[in-house]
Amino acid sequence: MTVAEAFTPHTFLDAFGFIHHNASFLLQKTAEHLELSLAALAIALLLALPLGLWLGHRHRGLFLAVSVSSVGRALPSVALIAFGLTIFGVGFWNNTAALVVLAIPPILTNAYFAVDGVDADVVEAARGMGLSEWQILRRIELPLGLPLVVAGIRIAAIFVIATATIAAVAGGGGLGEIIVDQASYGLAGVIAGSLCVSALALLAALLLSLTLRALTPRQGPVS
């Protein structure tokens, strides 16, 4: 690692120069980053969402939901990435596996509490109307709990994009590759990569916030 470059606020201007001159390269790295993140998020959703929704519907597994969330929060991303590397070796799966493990807890726990917290009277009324358990979950509990479900996905997405950056130390590619390689890209490149990945995370969070807002029922009188 070169430490020759002086750290000054001026490097921020250089970073914008770097972005300007390497736009297509940065775009390619951003696409890589997005690909890794989306793959991990999709797998985590497939695994955790049905389980969380079902456990919430049955009002079972409170202990599981709570412990998964607290253990998940305690798992250090760096250790997880390194651990994945020792098991799977360098490649797509070491990082994907680590990212999936990090993304599951918020999705699972939020899905559980979203469904578990739906007003019991509403569910009872639906059952009285003759809806099947599946219909209750699909047409009553899921729509009512959706804001909380999406909030969990939002947290998972933030985790995944952040950790995909760290995955670069394990050959994950993406924007992290620029950030951890100051020797090749210089401080300007490191800052540029950091700005890009921050923008990516903020955009993803914003997108999910807007989804959340669109899904949340308006307060107050219905017109």
């Binding site: 253990v71 305690a74 950056t165």
Partner: protein
Amino acid sequence: MIAAGGPVIPNFGQGSACERSNGWFCTDWLHAHWGDTLQPALVQHVWLSALAVGIGFAIAFALALVGFRHRLFDAGIGALADFLYTIPSLALFQLLVPFTGLTVTTVEIALVSYTLLVLYRNMAEGLRGVPADVLEAARGMGLTRTQTFLRVELPLALPAILAGLRIATVSTISVATVAAFVIPEGLGAPIFIALDQNLFKTEIVAAGGLAVALALFADGLLVLGQRAATPWSRA
């Protein structure tokens, strides 16, 4: 010691058979390097995390004092904290380096920023959640505004505040491993060394395991504190 290029044949020097074969859990390595590697990293990790949570708590509390009464201020602080929380840790560290260098300050600014969202939200929501008739009763008893805050609002908000403190503490201990990108301190540092030295498994498992254990231990301590501080919530 940096691994030579090319196909790497693990070579862990003069170590035991377990070390030479890159075992998952070499107890003799743990014995030999607890004192010079793991223990200092653990102590540094505790300090990095405690300092961040302490500073974060103080800032969040000061902000919540204003925020829970003023909607507009609350929305602004909430959005700012959410913004900071969303920036990936490695990126935030690097973005701070031009200003504060490869120092503890850089690490702490980033770690503190991540604690703010949970701490502030829980404090503001907790204080705001005090029922209006309770406040009415306090006023009726002739309590001043300060007395109402200290004797009514703060105790009633305590469970929410402590719940936020638990989440912030556990997350900070976890994120503090990333600090090793900036300074060779904390439990992330042994992991980086292991990554550099042919992926020595025992070191990765030990340092990662210690970080998880520290987080869960801190969480357990805070649960006990929570019980002691809010005896009424057990009834």
